[in-house]
Every structure is written in structure tokens, then in C-alpha cells.
């Protein structure tokens, strides 16, 4: 007699069908940063769900697949199948930001190519370390261009196709010019303290021209 009303109450909170509960477990296991316990799963799923049962189905579904539903301690997670670990080598690649010197050198080469080491040093105002150029060469972002027809016939640097691919450019000429940099707010930065004072040279009209000349074919 006392059981009847309880049953009725339960039906008000009817749980989603098991297939749906399985989908929910799948999505949560996929998206969480940490392995997750049954209790946490139950707390996140709608009232009346049975994540423990859903996980049994899910686990079965992933049997023999490229990833597995695994129990880690008392929590659950999706992990790569052990036999496919060799595919994950790329995940261990460590990415580091390029140094400021390298970025600046690379920018100068991109905007002024073909350009010699002496010219880079003149533009940056400091000498270019061997390591910087070597690093850019190793990344295959720059390569040696043709020699300049000036005394000493210095070697020049140009950017590579790999560079264009990495930066999503079709052509070095697509690099935005000074005016466009300013329009995009990238020239807002005031010169750092300690550098030459004086107004931000407004005669960049001229230099823009000089630069775009280099890009004309």
C-alpha cells in the first residue's frame, strides 16, 4: 500500500532511456579534463539515471575500438587503446614561443626580402646572433636567397613556402603594410622607455611606399 505512491513519484522523474544515458556518459567522459567518478556522473546527469549501468554498455561499445573506456582508481576515463600508443608521439611535441629577437628578425626578412644580415642588423639596430638565424633556417621558415650584387656579394635571406603555410599567407605580398597595421591597432604601442623620444614618425607614408616597392613585382 505504501509503495504505490512512491512508484508514482518515480515515474514523474522518469529517467531517459538507457541509450540516451549512454550518450550522456560518453559526452561527459570525452569533455572532462579529469577522470570522473560514478557519483559525479550521477550528479551531472538527469535525476534517476544509472551511470554505472550506462558505463557497462558504453565500455562494451568501445571494445576493440581505437579508444577505450577505462577505470582509473574509482573513476572513469576514455583513453587511447594501448596498441595505438605509437600514434601519439606527436602529442609529446613541446611548443615554445619564438624569442623576440627571432620574431623580429623573421618579420624583417618577410617584409624586406631578399635581405642581407647587415641590412637586418641595420634595421634592428643590434647584431643578429648566429643562433637566431640558424633557428629560423632549421624551422625552414627562411632560406638563403640569391647573393646581392654589392661588394662582398653578401648572401640574402628570404622566407619559404613553409613560412607562408604556417602563417596562413598565400604570398609574402599579402603581409599587411604599415598603414594597415596601424588601422588594426597594432601600431598603438608607444616606443618602450629608453628608446629615442620624439613623435612617432608620421612620415611613414614615405616608408610605406618604400616598403611596398619591395613587394611589387
Amino acid at each position: 500500500m505504501t509503495e504505490a505512491p512512491e512508484e508514482k513519484e518515480e515515474s514523474l522523474f522518469e529517467a531517459p532511456p538507457m541509450a540516451e544515458q549512454e550518450r550522456m556518459c560518453e559526452a561527459i567522459l570525452f569533455a572532462t579534463a579529469e577522470p570522473i567518478t560514478i557519483r559525479e556522473l550521477a550528479a551531472r546527469m538527469p535525476h534517476g539515471c544509472d551511470p554505472a549501468e550506462a558505463l557497462v554498455y558504453l565500455r562494451k561499445r568501445y571494445e576493440g575500438r581505437g579508444v577505450q573506456v577505462m577505470k582509473i582508481g574509482d573513476a572513469w576515463a576514455i583513453r587511447t587503446a594501448a596498441d595505438l600508443g605509437f600514434l601519439m608521439q606527436k602529442e609529446t611535441v613541446e611548443t615554445r614561443k619564438l624569442s623576440r629577437a627571432a620574431i623580429e628578425t623573421l618579420a624583417i626578412i618577410a617584409y624586406h626580402q631578399p635581405v642581407t644580415r647587415a641590412e637586418i642588423e641595420e634595421i634592428r639596430g643590434v647584431s643578429v646572433s648566429r643562433g637566431t638565424v640558424d633557428q629560423l633556417l632549421e624551422l625552414e621558415w627562411i632560406r638563403f636567397g640569391r647573393r646581392k650584387m654589392t661588394p662582398g656579394r653578401p648572401v640574402t635571406f628570404v622566407v619559404t613556402q613553409t613560412f607562408l603555410d604556417h602563417f596562413g599567407l598565400e604570398n609574402a605580398r599579402d603581409l599587411p603594410g604599415l598603414k594597415e597595421l596601424r588601422a588594426a591597432g597594432l601600431l598603438e604601442n608607444r616606443p618602450p622607455p629608453g628608446t629615442l623620444p620624439g613623435p612617432e614618425s608620421e612620415d611613414d607614408e614615405e616608408s610605406t611606399e618604400g616598403q611596398s616597392e619591395l613587394f611589387e613585382d
Binding site: 559526452a27 570525452f30 569533455a31 572532462t32 579534463a33 579529469e34 576515463a77 576514455i78 587511447t80 600508443g85 601519439m88 608521439q89 602529442e91 609529446t92 611535441v93 613541446e94 611548443t95 615554445r96 614561443k97 619564438l98 623576440r100 627571432a102 620574431i103 623580429e104 623573421l106 618579420a107 624583417i108 618577410a110 635581405v115 641595420e122 634595421i123 634592428r124 639596430g125 633557428q135 624551422l139 650584387m149 654589392t150 661588394p151 602563417f167 596562413g168 599567407l169 603581409l175 599587411p176 604599415l178 597595421l181 588594426a184 597594432l186 601600431l187 604601442n189 608607444r190 616606443p191 628608446t195 629615442l196 620624439g198 612617432e200 614618425s201 611613414d204 614615405e206 616608408s207 618604400g210
Partner: protein, 267 residues
């Protein structure tokens, strides 16, 4: 629009309220086109069937009202008002066949097109933002870290880094675009190098101009630079005691001779 079904008097009340709100809210508009678009909504018709003449009326009335209320209107609002007044006169007067330029209807059609296009982009923007979004409605993998096996360092940089880097250099000091004018400059260092190798053969007085490097004699710009550098280098060599130099009179040829120690001693 669903509002088409509204009763006539409801519309006029809503219109009045809207017009009042416009006056108060003039700063809330993003320029004349935005204002025109808002005004056009009071016409309660499809934007493709809008009456540009009526819209011009509304806009001019708005500007007039703003003036009465002594509201500062930005210059572009006034420019638009002038243009709409011009358009209105074109639309009202019978077309003058001798007149150059587009007809009033063409101008009106273009304005209607601009309004419709702006509205379309706003609707598109709303639909775009209403889409399911990553990190809000659907999610990427939470545990992306994997067994560490190979440790290889790669370096990354974005186009933004690159451009910011370039902007940094360009704003650091007065930027001198790199030009090829160095082609025509023969430095004193280069001249010194050249002269040191040659003076061994200069036993007798020789015209300094014969020391100019090959290929630098013809072009006057190059010749000037090479002459100056060679002269300066010669003076340096005289100072170092390797060379004698003489000039018989003003503008006469300058001559060089290797300094002979034996000869020196005899004099």
C-alpha cells in the same frame, strides 16, 4: 513583419513613442545609416517596398527636431540630411532630361539596397551568434595530454606576433626604409683595402684617378664616391707613412707615390 496586423492607431502611438525615443537616444546610433534603418522600421513594410521619399521626410524631421532640442548632431548626420534633401527634390520634381547623373529613382533604389543589405547582415550576425558554439554548447576533448615518449621542441609564432614584432621595430625609432643606395657608395674601408694592395707597385708619381676601382669611373654618382674614398684612403696611407702625395697647383691632378725609405733617407 508580424506588426503588419496592428491596428492603425496602435501603430501611430508606437510610432510616436519610437520617434521620441530616437530623439533622446541620438548617441545610441551607429551613424546615419543605422538611424535610417531604425526609422524605416516605422513604415511597417518589407524593406524592399520601403518608401524612400517617406524615409527622407522622417529623417529630415528627425534632424529638425534635434536642432530644436539643440542636440549636437555629428557632421555625418548633417551630410546625410543634405543628401536626402537633394534626393527628395529629385524624387518630387519631374526628371529633367538634360540633367547629367543618376536619376532620383536610381539613388533611392541604391539607398534602399544599402538598408536592406545592412539589415540582412544584422540578421545574419544574429543567426550566427545563435548557433551552437564551441565551449558553450558543444565541447572539445578535455584530456588531451598523452604518454610522453618523444620530446621534441618546436617553436611557434602567430602572424599577430610577427606583425607586432615588426610594428615594434618600425615604431622604435625613425625608420629608414632600406634602399639600394648603398650600391653607389664606395667606403673608405674598401678604398683602403684596395690601395694597400696597389701601392707596392707605385714606384713613380701616378695620378690618383688611376686608382679608382674598376666599374666606378663611368657613373658620376659612383665616381664621386669612389674618388672621395680613394682620396681619403690616400691621406690615411700618407699619415701612416706608406705614401707621398702632391698637387702642383689648385685643381691640378693629385699624384701618389710609394714612400721609398732609401729615398727618404737621402733627402
Amino acid at each position: 513583419m508580424a506588426d503588419d496586423t496592428f491596428e492603425e492607431d496602435t501603430v501611430s502611438v508606437a510610432e510616436r513613442l519610437a520617434a521620441e525615443a530616437l530623439i533622446v537616444d541620438v548617441d545610441g546610433f551607429e551613424g546615419p545609416l543605422d538611424l535610417l534603418l531604425t526609422l524605416s522600421r516605422t513604415q511597417k513594410v518589407d524593406l524592399r517596398k520601403i518608401s524612400v521619399l517617406q524615409l527622407a521626410h522622417q529623417y529630415l524631421a528627425f534632424v529638425e527636431k534635434a536642432k530644436q532640442l539643440r542636440l549636437e548632431l555629428a557632421a555625418d548626420y548633417l551630410v546625410m540630411a543634405a543628401w536626402l534633401a537633394f534626393l527628395k527634390s529629385r524624387l518630387l520634381l519631374p526628371p529633367d532630361p538634360t540633367e547629367e547623373g543618376p536619376s532620383g529613382e536610381e539613388l533611392a533604389a541604391h539607398l534602399a539596397f544599402q538598408l536592406e543589405r545592412l539589415q540582412a547582415m544584422r540578421d545574419a550576425a544574429a543567426r550566427l551568434m545563435a548557433r551552437d558554439q564551441l565551449g558553450r554548447d558543444f565541447f572539445a576533448r578535455g584530456q588531451s595530454e598523452m604518454v610522453t615518449r618523444v620530446r621534441k621542441v618546436t617553436y611557434s609564432a602567430t602572424l599577430l606576433d610577427l606583425m607586432q614584432g615588426y610594428a615594434r621595430i618600425r615604431t622604435r625609432d625613425e625608420f629608414r626604409p632600406f634602399v639600394m643606395d648603398r650600391d653607389a657608395v664606395f667606403t673608405m674601408e674598401q678604398a683602403l683595402d684596395r690601395m694597400r694592395g696597389l701601392i707596392g707597385y707605385a714606384g713613380d708619381w701616378t695620378d690618383i684617378l688611376s686608382y679608382l676601382p674598376e666599374g666606378w669611373e663611368a657613373d658620376p654618382v659612383k665616381r664621386r664616391s669612389a674618388t672621395a674614398a680613394t682620396f681619403a684612403a690616400s691621406l690615411e696611407l700618407v699619415k701612416e707613412g706608406h705614401l707621398d702625395i702632391r698637387q702642383s697647383e689648385t685643381f691640378a691632378p693629385i699624384q701618389l707615390r710609394k714612400r721609398d725609405e732609401a729615398r727618404d733617407r737621402s733627402t
